[in-house]
Symmetry: C2
Subunit: 350 residues, 2 copies
């Protein structure tokens, strides 16, 4: 991690991509079956990171649920992420921020689960409403090194592409199976995640080119070794519409998988808010800097972990500084719109 | 905090004090009413810190509950502590440690709550079995500075003593009120906490004398200012048997408070394990060092927060090193048994 709160501070690109699924979450909150009191309504936030991007959707969901359940029924909010996630930032925000969903509602009870969502991490039949935003594009593991890239989408190595595709397919099934266990009957799961668009485009091309180009230059300058670069991998994937549907299409004729049915699935282009800002103000420097800062928060810790000394390598801070500066300069030199293919989905437990 | 895992590493004194309440927890696990499936059994661990001292009691509780509930019913374990607690260490331990209560039981679901237990932090009527060990001696706030000490028990200032006594009484009621809400009918809460013995003795005299003496010396040496020392306060209290009973004695004739009744209350002397070791091996140096290391983990962060620059004061590391070294030398020069008055209690929700 980039220090406490680093992810919160630099997640504007993702925050910009968040709102497209909030209306689906709000609708789902109106449709789910509510548990009978005194049992709590349970909202699960799968892949919360440090929580900043969760506040708006969870606030919206709670508001919709309160209209139906009244002010007395308890609502539990389970924020989940990997064990190393810094949940302190999340709790500090929830406890201290006047815009926190805790403010003014004493019957909302947040908790965190530091375990991978590729396992069952909440009791069976306990979740009323699930939310997962910008999370399930992260694979459970990188199944291979990528010889010619850091992101498999732009690798031209067929074996590597096949290995990642297989992992992506397996992880998607695993994710759905466990969420299918955790949801209670007629509960909903709303997912926003990276996708490939209907032309097969993963997007982010200029950003990833700037990142990979800067890393190659670091090798040329002997700041990192070729071995280190060859290990560096961002284990994210964009899935296609048919990838998302595959488990439902294959397994049975009634369109069910893991007791889930697909209520909604849309692949669409997220707004490149930094590009829109650049078009307004023409500030190429700001454009490059902001994409670089976003990349630093979301991807550099993963890359730095593959330095010879891991994330604690003495070069780690300098590595991040150089990579950020190199990306910022490259992107500022030739600002370009970035495609951000996304998918939003709603699943219902039957 | 003293860095990741610092508390876990240096909590042997408290670990030594833990086991006296585990038999009560095991008994309570046999007595509580279990929720009907599919609702989970909920264990709450109030004041978990980084979790090391929770593993044994929670493992014992789960084993006792499994004998009654079978292997299929979900058991949620809610570990709570303040927002700044490092729950990453706890999750890493739970996920990776082969002795974790998660190992071999896929139906146990840990979660953490980073909020003060002086609020309601879990849904009403949701907790089957509560556990709180070495936690409720920490007041919600220090109600006053202590002019002549860092620990109110050895202050001779009547106004300060009265202010702390009032805060201790209020906090104890607040703690019970919220646990009374959170427990479900016939659930139990087991508490182990610091106490004063029936002679009114808080204990820890040699340790606190060594700590305060070293701090006074630091003022003499101009390493800290007299102002800084006057602010330093460890906001813990030992309560007497009658303090613990006060809410139950005063409020009603049937011995209930906050829908709780006292099933068991015992004030006793904890074992001074470091003294026992010293008696075996005669190693005064180890005796002093271990008490000093324990003090560093449990109390120094609280003291360092009152440096002019707070916990991030540039002197903070040196402050802790000097204080630990001074205490270790003082305690090694004249090893002495330390009284450790404790109370163990069981409450039942009616």
């Amino acid at each position: 991690m980039e220090g406490h709160g680093g992810y919160n501070r630099s997640s504007r690109v993702q925050a910009a991509g968040l709102s497209p699924a909030v209306p689906l979450l709000e609708h789902a909150a109106r449709m789910v079956t509510l548990p009978a009191e005194p049992h709590p309504i349970v909202i699960a936030d799968y892949g919360s990171s440090e929580g900043r991007n969760s506040l708006e959707p969870i606030t919206v969901a709670i508001r919709a649920l309160r209209k139906r359940a009244g002010s007395n029924q308890a609502i539990s909010v389970m924020h989940t992420d990997l064990p190393d996630n810094d949940f302190r930032v999340l709790f500090r925000t929830l406890v201290n921020d006047p815009n926190s969903y805790l403010a003014g509602d004493t019957k909302v009870f947040p908790a965190t689960v530091g375990r991978s969502f590729y396992e069952q991490i909440l009791p069976a039949n306990s979740v009323t409403l699930g939310w997962s935003s910008w999370a399930v594009q992260w694979l459970s593991r990188a199944p291979a090194q990528i010889p010619d890239q850091i992101q498999v989408a732009y690798s031209e190595d067929p074996g590597t592409r096949a290995a990642f595709a297989a992992q992506a397919a397996a992880d998607w099934r695993t994710f759905l199976i466990h969420r299918g266990s955790e949801l209670h009957a007629n509960g909903r799961l709303v997912v926003l995640t990276m996708a490939v668009d209907d032309a097969g485009d993963f997007g982010y091309r200029p950003v990833l080119d700037a990142m990979y180009g800067t890393l190659v230059k670091m090798v040329d300058e002997n700041f990192i070794s070729a071995d280190e670069l060859s290990r560096m991998t961002i284990p994210t994937v964009g899935r296609s519409r048919s990838d998302f549907m595959a488990p439902f299409a294959e397994v049975s004729e009634d369109g069910r998988f893991a007791n889930l049915i697909v209520e909604e699935l849309e692949v669409f282009q997220g707004e490149d808010r930094l590009w829109a800002e650049f078009q307004r103000d023409g500030d190429a420097h700001a454009f490059g800097s902001q994409w670089a800062a976003f990349s630093r928060a979301s991807a550099f810790p993963t890359l730095a972990a593959d330095l010879d000394g891991g994330g604690k390598d003495p070069r780690a801070a300098e590595f991040a500084n150089r990579l950020e500066a190199g990306m910022a300069a490259t992107l500022a030199a030739a600002p370009e719109r970035t495609l951000i293919p996304l998918a939003r989905m709603v699943f219902r437990k039957v």
